[in-house]
Symmetry: D4
Subunit: 248 residues, 8 copies
């Protein structure tokens, strides 16, 4: 609730077009919807037309379907991440046209078209095993209204595979780089481009990668400037941030 | 065993109303009950009328039912936490009226009424996935004789959801705040109220939350005064402590 | 800013006694004071008469003295923690009567008397080396208006030293237990009393205590109910919370 | 070295205007300068007119001055970070007009003007002790050609201090949020704006913050979308990335 | 191979009763037996009459049975730890009288009697969930020829349960104390007795116990003298060492 | 792509035998093969005749079989590591003669003979449970063209088992030592030989080995010179490096 | 306070030879001495004639001297560990004949002779840098009444140095093994002897030893039976425990 | 002591040319020299003519000089690492011609020439701050008889600096790669060469590098084959191993 909103409300109260009690109620109720097990934030979406997002993990299939059902009443695009097949089944009962992306573990429901900016986002993956996280990032960026270029399996062990795609990487407005193990790929990409690099460590690997810790630390301590990091396996966060930058 | 108890016993011995051997035996036996696999502490409960509590994890269904069966002879309320459906089945064989709370993973057996103080405890949950821990806290506080207000899914990503419930939060005598991931919610609540805040980190999340470590460290290093922390996922501990403070 | 405040302001705007621009300004300015390097929060103190607190670490002596100088204009008691001798010297230039507690590393400036409640807080210390943290807790509780009983060097290696003071411990309304190394003392105290126990791990020790980590983990995983934990070495936080509970 | 450069070189070789050996040499030498203890990367700077940057830590004063002396021959702006007073003295011998920022621990040498974009970057600091890192970020952003708004000491313990500056925060094109301890501030800011948030954890604090680990984990696991994280205390990295986004 | 053995062999070689090649062969072969997947150490057992021990974890049922089958030819007692029901089945095919202890997860085969010393070992358990580790310790001590007293569920949360058994504890020649969570019990016992205490941390618990780390660190940093620690959940190691001390 | 390759290409362009566009294309395409989910690196293998290697973990059976099918067209030996029975089934559909090593979890396809050097590699295993990792190392070294001597179950608890095999160990050109738990065996071997020792920590064990961390740290801090370490459980990496050294 | 003591006191009260208040007082006071900053435990020493021990770290020189001064009145041997030269100076003012061991950082004051048992303790050191911790162990064992054999610098990198002293090691009743870095020496010794081994990890080393963590984990996960571990650098604890076992 | 030595000794005993007692003595004494504070291992050096090495850290200047003085009697080259200026002063008193390398913190004493193999070792450094560790590696390799090529400051942030030196790197028989921060450089080098890569993580950096942990984990989890890792900052270990491989 910004200063403009507050000014208008105060003006309404002053001119008598808004009752004090109504103003209080309005402040309390128009931004959220309480479903009992979830308090849905209507605020940003209403204003921006952005998709509404559900984080599936830790919710029951019934809860996910219930939230989808409520959101359908608002005619926005909907994205659910970290979904299980059970959740897909439940959601399709309330919305048969929901698209399930098996690799990305996402459900997408497209209710309206979002215009695309001319620039694109590159999603670069170090290894085949990093694909689920990369795909989550790509799907997120797409439903938020962006064109995405995918570059797969170009990790540092055979770095010339990366150089073959250098033109695609250099012309992207923002690069998402997804890597597990030592997480060195964002450092390389960051040294080659003049655009922001969003590094996504993955928990892929074994031994001393400790659930993604090695990739995370490697990316955080990267010597290449222009790089920042999101949480381990957080493809959604990377896709969301890349969209924000690409659509600035 | 406090100084008063010791005085009385010594007096009894002096006046001859208590034999030396009896005194020794009494010191040894009146506070505990040995079931072979468990040594039950009768002491505090006898004196306070507080519920008796069983921690289910790591026990067999038979052990849990055996402890319940013994406790039933003492006519107190009983709470079992971290129970599995197997345990519920076993317990219901010795006590069919046992209440099972699926979300909180608790069994409650109410044998007598505990009078409620006029004040209440607020249990505030950051996200839907934190509900099991929050519910364990709420159920614990209730069976120990407290009124509880639940506030669900008001995490910092949409902080205005919290402000809508600020009056309920500010009028509580003590607040329990349950959060996973970055665990920032207790800092916010602690900055808004003049009452003790009990922070409960949860293991909910993924990536760099490392089984609740990120939330735990965030809560411990919180800059808001008046906040203290219990173990990760320890809803029971929070509910017990909140009850202790609310009933002071 | 609670609902009542908002109602009054809206009413003032409606009746015309408050101009819209004034209302906006009021919302923006009355709670903070910007010193350039610090934004002082006047809000809670104004309402409660509580002492104002400065966290010394990471500030320059000049910054600490500057904040004190501003606070003196508000006629409240003042507490500064984690101060160095340099800071004491700087502060005494603007307030010669500032009291310096060498052990607790605190500066206290008492401008007015706070009435004491009848109950007291016990501060229990496991070892001689834990005294600075314990003293910080005690000094904090005292300046916030509480009577404090100190119990020194009663760690678990000679647990009968604790039992000698059991009556003082059991009659306290809240116990602060300060311990380093294995941090077992709060578990023992928590098993002996019916009142809240605030556990303060200290970084005292060597080897596998890892800067207080062993005491912290020990206290968090304590099997005794009614115990909660504050940050390592956070004597101030424990004293503040204990005061809050003691003055409920 | 991008595809265009390669095309031109190949064309030159084909037409005979470039000898094969010269082409090989050119590929080897035009992008770097070897000073014995350092291999300076001339490539990006030549093309972009960006400042040249020296990371001071771990270098001797003589090495820093030597690198500056070489860079002065290239007529670019120069930034040195993590400098000690010794380094400042050495640098001023080769460049008396070098500006030393004591708080940010930076040396800046401005050789030419960089045109500013109309938008600005907000640098938000949780506490006074976080100022050195925040100032490093701000100085970096400024020398790279950006307008910066500083917002100081608005941490979550008194969150209304933040709301007073909300308009400045919301109108920024990108926000840098610098915080130690629990690192909760970026979560709050991220929930209030529609623009990218760059979170910088600091090593400020004590106890369980473990050299900035608590703030780092808190920021990584933040529930607010649009947030990414740089290394602990990495003010330079945040300033550089923010400049990149602001000048897109 | 000690100095006496070497002397005899050298004497044999000198007097010609032992050929050089035979001596070399003898040095190579008499102490081990190679089964392909395991190299069995015959040396100590032959000399001492001690039981032979198999660590089950990570071996296949066939490997365990194969080792047992070989060991049976040597007429010693046999102990297998960390066995699964599958292993029990396999072993019983080659030795039907093998005793399986379900709680301790051990197989014991008694081929001859070992005389018991007059003193005994006390095995003290903090909670019901620590029983498997404690029982592994007790079974090990028994098959190695010791009398064992078991004391169950006397953790620090109700420390008077421990005091009731103090005479049994004080008269033991060595105490094994098994505890999870905060691992405080060995500190208490160590402060009460004049005999060695072997502390066994268990991985029992949840939250910040991190797989037994909290108990381990607590025991290592224990302030009570006379205490040493074995690996997490290492009941066998504790039983073995206690036997060694009890039979000195 | 080394300097010679570049010279030839430039010469071809100069003499007109290579078109500029062709040269660009050639640079881009001849070293990799894009399968959609994987970008195969043809470069090294083509030149060296080395086997091609597939890391199975995190790939689907279909992906593994697809990569094998492509590689078969290149007539090299093929090694797949970390395979599951599902993958074996899929691979045998496209290549029935694929050899599956159950212990090592590898698939090997031998298309041509590699000449063996006269020296050999010793693979030394501390315990039976370390066999899968050791076998992965041995299988890798063999398919890369080396003779391997296996020494099994000679851990430090019965160190004379090691001494019996000392001649085999000392005559190896390089030793691979595989150990879990405390990881002490490489230190011992390193102190006995004048040849490189490659230490492989395994995740075998329980308690404070923390997934191989104890063995890893032990090996890294080993006091014996000539020892280096690969990732936890990384039998392949050890076998590959040993082959590289043995075939120098 | 054991059962016998309690019986006698109760009998005294019964026969009237002990007043109730006196009994209460006696229970409270006879075991401890309160010095304000320290609560001295007189209990065990009185009964056993054991030396009294002061842990110097974290105490001021004045506090150490004060405790010594009090202890001198009790005519026992005195040991102070982790002392600084400042403390030595302070102590010598109240007791000029105090012996200072520079390497071990101990003060010893011998007031009476303790008879030695016929057996001895071996203190084995891996490297020269481990000497301070080893010497602390040796000095402790000696003042508690034991003969000590020292074996220096026989780490695993040159393991034959150890075998040269094997007879001394094998004839000891208990071995203390002090080692930093990978901490492998106790495993070796444990595999060679039939007596208890007390392992002392030291913080000696660099890199991945992380303040002794690598040695600690190595010793805890040791495959050799009969080994237990004390805290990092805890020479005193090892000497005390070894004395306890040697004097059983 | 290998099998040949044992054969000869046994033969000597058999023929009577060696007395049994002499044989025993010989086995005990010929390989080590006891200086009281150090047990010097003469064995390998005598046989190989390799330099003798002293690890300075944790030793006193007097101890270092004493060991040097003894070693001088054996006419081998001598290397001391991790020396302080104090040690240099002490050593020069017994050997004025000792060479001190300030950057590498080494003392070298060359008593005889070691013939060089035709191949060389490349020592590659990521940043200027990594030079001390790299120089320790280079000095070690040189005194052990190897030619060394140094490549400085070619970290991944400007990866073309590395490609300019690719011919030197590819022609080396073994590469040592020294890097701090994210430790990505060995991955890159490992992907470019067919020779062994020895990775040395350094503790250089700040923030989430945690004393070299980030570089260590990055190198261990490197996806490039042929790479192994030594301890953090262990330049000596890398130089020693590289020499071993280069001189195979």
């Amino acid at each position: 609730m910004n200063q403009d909103d507050l000014s208008k409300l105060l003006a309404g109260v002053k001119t008598g077009t808004v009752e004090i009690n109504d103003a209080l109620e309005q402040l309390k109720n128009f931004t959220v919807k309480d479903l009992g097990y979830a308090t849905i934030d209507n605020h940003r979406e209403l204003r921006t037309g952005y998709p509404e997002v559900i984080y599936g993990q830790g919710k029951t299939p019934e809860q996910v379907a219930g939230i989808v059902q409520y959101m359908l009443t608002r005619h926005n695009n909907i994205l659910a991440t970290r979904v299980t097949p059970d959740m897909v089944e439940s959601v399709r009962k309330v919305c048969p046209e929901a698209e399930y992306n098996h690799t990305a573990r996402t459900i997408a429901i497209r209710m309206k078209e979002i215009p695309l900016p001319p620039t694109y986002i590159a999603v670069i993956t170090a290894g085949t095993s990093d694909l689920p996280v990369a795909e989550e990032a790509a799907v997120t960026a797409e439903i938020f209204g962006n064109r995405v270029e995918r570059i797969v399996d170009v990790g540092v062990a055979g770095i010339h595979r990366l150089y073959n795609r250098l033109d695609v990487i250099r012309q992207a407005r923002v690069n998402i780089v997804v890597a597990g193990m030592e997480g060195a790929l964002p450092s390389i990409v960051g040294g080659l481009v003049d655009k922001p690099v969003i590094a996504v460590p993955t928990s892929v690997g074994y031994g001393a990668n400790f659930g993604g810790l090695s990739a995370l630390l490697g990316m955080l301590t990267s010597c290449a400037s222009g790089t920042s990091v999101v949480n381990i396996d957080n493809g959604f966060g990377a896709g969301f941030l890349a969209s924000m930058i690409n659509r600035l």
